[in-house]
């Protein structure tokens, strides 16, 4: 009987029930989208922040070279969540006796790590060098091949392209690590690491690397980490404030629609009461109806909300926001709670009224 009443209530007067359901679905969708965005935005922004380059650096203690197995160890510690690039440095002499710092590195990886480098052409064959703009003006003003010497060994290099960063890299000459090692025999002394993760994860990585590589200094690059944490924190706080406001507005929308819907049915309420239904039963009936509405609305809204969040992710970050199913319970419970409140509130107001008054149309 109870079930039948519920079914009839939903199928008769379809228009009103549908508009209440619509409000519920939209509210749940908006809440889902905001929560999903809030949870996922950190990962999305972190990816953007990794364009700032390395956030951890491994340096040999007192300027020593790193142990030969340092890079594989770092790579295995990163487990695919970042990029590690080795750098070796020496001071070489040009043919007219000027000092210039030469660095050997993995150029393909540097290109990914330091995406802000403005490079005219990346070297791709052996004996090709990438010259910082200021170094280029000294060693090869006309773009001609040049010689560099280090401890009696001379190398002949072709300038492949020039590099502009506005920082100390402008004074350097970059070679591929193989050319560099064949020429100087010097091993990398620095590994720059761009690791994607929260500050706790970075701290754990640093701890782990310091233990596996005891002869090195593993340091966070505070400039990058602190600014990132700050900007990320402020963005998330703003988004949280926006999410609270939007969810509150959506809940308000549901509340006003549902209260209107229940008020509208005060004649049903009066008839049930006149026929001898107890107040508990009537409240239970309306509550069950509201809960069912909330549940259906929450499920439908969740699906739409995930879609909206994915769309925002695609438009703004060029990568969809991953659906988070762990927010489903929150949306579900929240929807039912709002629906229950908006159903029970008018019942308490109507309880004091005599059924006869309502039925008479007053």
């Amino acid at each position: 009987m109870f079930l039948r009443m519920l079914m009839r209530a939903a199928t008769l007067r379809r228009g009103r029930a549908a508009s209440a359901l619509l409000a519920m679905v939209v509210a749940a969708a908006v809440a889902t989208a905001m929560l999903n965005l809030y949870v996922d935005v950190q990962a999305k922004l972190r990816k953007e922040f990794r364009n700032y380059g390395a956030n951890v650096v491994v340096i040999g203690k007192d300027g020593q070279a790193l142990p030969a197995d340092a890079l594989p160890k770092v790579d295995s510690a990163l487990a695919g969540h970042g990029l590690a690039v080795p750098f070796a440095y020496i001071v070489a002499r040009t043919s007219d006796g000027q000092s210039v710092v030469v660095s050997g590195t993995n150029l393909d990886q540097v290109r990914k790590l330091d995406s802000w480098w403005s490079v005219t052409a990346w070297p791709n064959t052996s004996q090709d060098a990438l010259l910082g703009t200021r170094a280029a003006a000294v060693v090869s003003p006309q773009g001609k091949p040049f010689d560099l010497s280090f401890q009696g060994h001379t190398i002949h290099l072709n300038p492949a392209g020039t590099l502009r960063t506005g920082a100390s890299e402008d004074s350097l000459i970059y070679l591929s690590l193989t050319d560099f090692e064949n020429w100087t025999g010097v091993q990398p002394s620095t590994i720059e690491i761009a690791f994607s993760g929260s500050s706790e994860e970075i701290a754990a990585l640093i701890q782990m690397l310091s233990q596996t590589l005891p002869t090195t200094d593993v340091r966070p690059i505070r400039q990058i980490m602190e600014a990132e944490a700050r900007v990320l924190g402020k963005t998330r706080a703003t988004l949280a404030a926006a999410a609270i406001l939007i969810i509150a507005t959506a809940a308000l929308c549901v509340l006003s629609t549902l209260i209107g819907w229940v008020f509208d049915r005060r004649r049903d309420f009066a008839i049930m009461k006149a026929l001898g239904a107890s107040e508990g039963l009537i409240t239970g009936f309306f509550a069950a109806e509201a809960a069912a509405l909330g549940a259906v609305g929450a499920i439908g809204g969740f699906g739409i909300g995930v879609g909206v969040a994915a769309w925002i992710g695609r438009v703004n970050f060029h990568a969809p926001v991953v659906p988070r199913f762990n927010i489903l319970p929150a949306v579900f419970v929240g929807s039912i709670a709002v629906a229950l409140i908006s159903a029970v509130l008018p019942i308490f107001l109507l309880r004091r009224v005599q059924p006869a008054m309502i039925l008479r149309g007053e």
Binding site: V26, M34, E48, N51, I59, R219, K234, T238, L252
Partner: protein
Amino acid sequence: MFGRLVYESFRRQKRRKLLAGIAITLGVGVATAMLAVATDIGNKISRELRTYGANLIVTPQEDTLDVQIGGVDLKPPSDGAYLNEADLPKIKGMFWRNNIVGFAPMLPISVRVNSDAKNFTLLGTYFSKRLTLGKEDFVTGVRITHPWWKVQGAWPDDNSSDVLLGESLAAKLGRKAGDDIEIAAQTHHIAGILSTGGAEDNQIIAPLALTQQILGKPGAVRRVYVSALTKPEDAFARRDPQTLRGAEYDRWYCSPYAASIAFQLQEAIPHSHAEQIRQIAQNEGTVLSRIKGLMLLVTLAALFASALAVSAAMATAIFERRAEVGLMKALGAGSLSVAALFFAEALLLALIGGALGFTGGALLAHQIGRSIFDSQITIEPVLFPVILAIAVIVTFAGSAMAIRRAVKFDPVYALRGEA
């Protein structure tokens, strides 16, 4: 008669009007707050991004190559050109002076410490120096341009001969804050231990004047780091100023691009070369545009949600009054006059709710700005008519469906109480 109808409707049905009014006020309030936050978020985040430090660097035009590895300078100290310290306050006299958050001059020199055989790098700079240009006073130095520098102990005064010791160097030399250290045959007090996570951890940092005195070159500065608020780079920003003509040149010069601020720095400081630090300047634009885009989309969601809330409240309010419509129609009112009555009521509600909501939203935005960004979020007064117009349009749109249905309803059924 029409005016009286509207007036009586407001006087008699306070509860219903109140519910719809609250919905409009809250909806408009949320919309106002979100619009205000979204329009200002660019400035706020741009200021937060300045915690990444300087985005421009000024060096002498005839500079020689830097020869340093891991922050240790291997260049002979006499080598290279210098900028003149006396020119620096001119930075605050440029066209974009209000966009300059701060600047810090640097003078690295090589010194002997404690008659140790090895040379160490001594870096001279401003910590928090008060400078004057014309009548204007301002404070600048590494504490503004390098906010990630942390000091254990105290920051030295710019006019003192106290120094900071880098963390790693302090550990190596076994010194702590409050000890003395002998630099270039003079005893200096260590005010604090500096931790930066960079090359400075192995250096001694001293006031610029003291460093110049040790070097024997008063007024010498090797380079200047400038932290400026800039506009993200676009295709126009990348144009070479030499090729621009007339109005285009003026537009380029008067936009706060990193490139045009660098150009003006070069004009302000004689014999200098200014360049953007690409790592900071280039990425700033991307991060900023992502966050702005995100807030814009979220604001759209907020506007949508508040529009929906207002519509729902209006629809409910009108739906409840079918009996009245029936009565009016039975007494001979046309559909048009009934609709006009409802729209007039909706207009009044929208205007009152919109005005209240705007005030509430402004307060809310102010609160968000204060608690998240520690600074004001200002609301443009231009927004007020815009918000009111939006409130009226949304209220009308929300009411239209309900009014249409109410007007179409047969008066006989309505009066008999069947809905």
